[in-house]
């Protein structure tokens, strides 16, 4: 399993411009992240990683633990940072060096209510969600970005798409409730 930068140098200038202009806060959405032959190896790694149920006032979903348990998942996380952090730094103008990574499954009724990811004690700079192919593609489960408290952008969880946005006190967002099917994703943050 090998990550790749899903854009070429020529696209990078346009992508950086898109990042700066994006509303309600800086973000980009990129499709066709992995080549078609990359999924088998990726799912092989994911299948070995334990998944638990997480429910709180803010969320309900299945996910892997904060710290991966298998060597392959640890390497998947490390390589994501090695490959994507330099490219994301060029696009966003933000210094990022490493990523964390968890796998998520949102089933019918699951959700993540409006919140920001900013915490003073953490050095989260960029948040990302990469959507995986699902045997039962989800209805709902969109990533919704808010301008203040008003809905401003709705991003469909399309397979092989990555959504990346700036972490700040202003970056209020949610994962809308999944109404049917299963929303599979890898998500986390890039750190300074």
């Amino acid at each position: 399993m090998t990550w790749r930068v899903p854009w070429c140098d020529r696209d990078e200038v346009a992508l950086a411009d898109s990042w700066r202009r994006a509303q309600p806060f800086p973000h980009v959405v990129v499709d066709d992240v992995l080549a078609d032959d990359g999924f088998d190896a990726l799912f092989e790694i994911l299948e070995d990683e334990p998944v638990e149920r997480y429910v709180a006032d803010l969320y309900a979903f299945d996910a892997t633990a904060r710290e991966p348990t298998t060597a392959a998942f640890v390497e998947l996380r490390a390589e994501l940072g090695r490959v994507l952090a330099p490219a994301l730094a060029r696009v966003t103008g933000r210094h990022v060096t490493r990523a964390d990574l968890r796998a998520y499954a949102y089933r019918a009724g699951d959700h993540l209510l409006p919140h920001t990811d900013h915490q003073d004690e953490l050095a989260r700079v960029l948040a990302y969600a990469y959507y995986l192919p699902s045997p039962e593609p989800p209805q709902g489960g969109e990533l919704e970005l808010f301008a203040g408290y008003a809905s401003a952008r709705v991003i469909e969880p399309r397979a092989n798409r990555i959504a990346i946005f700036e972490v700040s006190d202003a970056s209020l967002h949610q994962v809308r409730e999944v109404m049917a099917g299963t929303r599979l994703s890898l998500a986390g943050w890039f750190y300074a």
């Binding site: 006032d57 803010l58 019918a108 409006p114 409730e177």
Partner: protein, 167 residues
């Protein structure tokens, strides 16, 4: 029933409040705290039948504030937000909270959870006529669970009253 985490956490089934009219409701705007409608109860005296359910030895029988909250599908109230909070709460030591479910029908999965330092210790079902009597305090929070949009037409209505000792 006494739940771990609070000296008082009790459910009473089949409680009615005859003559009580839900006040006009307005929408709460801050979605990072909650999505719900609310309205203040002006005449606190009408809540006397609820106070009658408080243990007779408990001195906290004075209703200082009461509010109705209503949740539609997609609504919620997060634990860090207290829909009854008031600046005067700093003077309340360990107030008692009464919650009467006024919903038109039960909504499974739409429980009200009381939490001590984040950990849920007491669940109140969204069942009409259920009265919860719970001691609040600095370490106690509560969240009204997300009401799934898959439950079309569902509506959870709760009357929340806060009681202190008479002064």
């Amino acid at each position: 029933m006494i739940a771990i985490g609070s000296r008082t956490a009790t459910l009473v089934d089949g409680v009615a409040l005859p003559g009580f009219a839900v006040p006009p409701l307005v929408r709460f705007p801050a979605i990072d705290d909650g999505a719900y409608s609310w309205g203040d109860v002006a005449d606190l005296a009408v809540l006397a039948p609820l106070v009658a359910h408080v243990d007779r030895d408990d001195p906290r029988r004075r209703v200082v504030r009461a509010r109705v909250v209503a949740l539609e599908p997609g609504d919620y109230i997060l634990a860090h937000h207290d829909p009854l909070a008031d600046a005067s709460d700093a003077d309340d030591d360990l107030p008692l909270e009464l919650v009467l479910d006024l919903s038109p029908a039960a909504s499974p999965g739409a429980e009200l959870y009381y939490r001590r330092r984040g950990a849920a210790f007491f669940a109140v079902p969204a069942t009409p006529g259920t009265l919860a009597i719970v001691e609040r305090g600095p370490a106690i929070t509560a969240n009204h669970s997300y009401l799934s949009k898959r439950h079309r037409g569902a509506r959870v209505v709760r009357l929340i009253a806060r009681l202190t000792s008479a002064r």
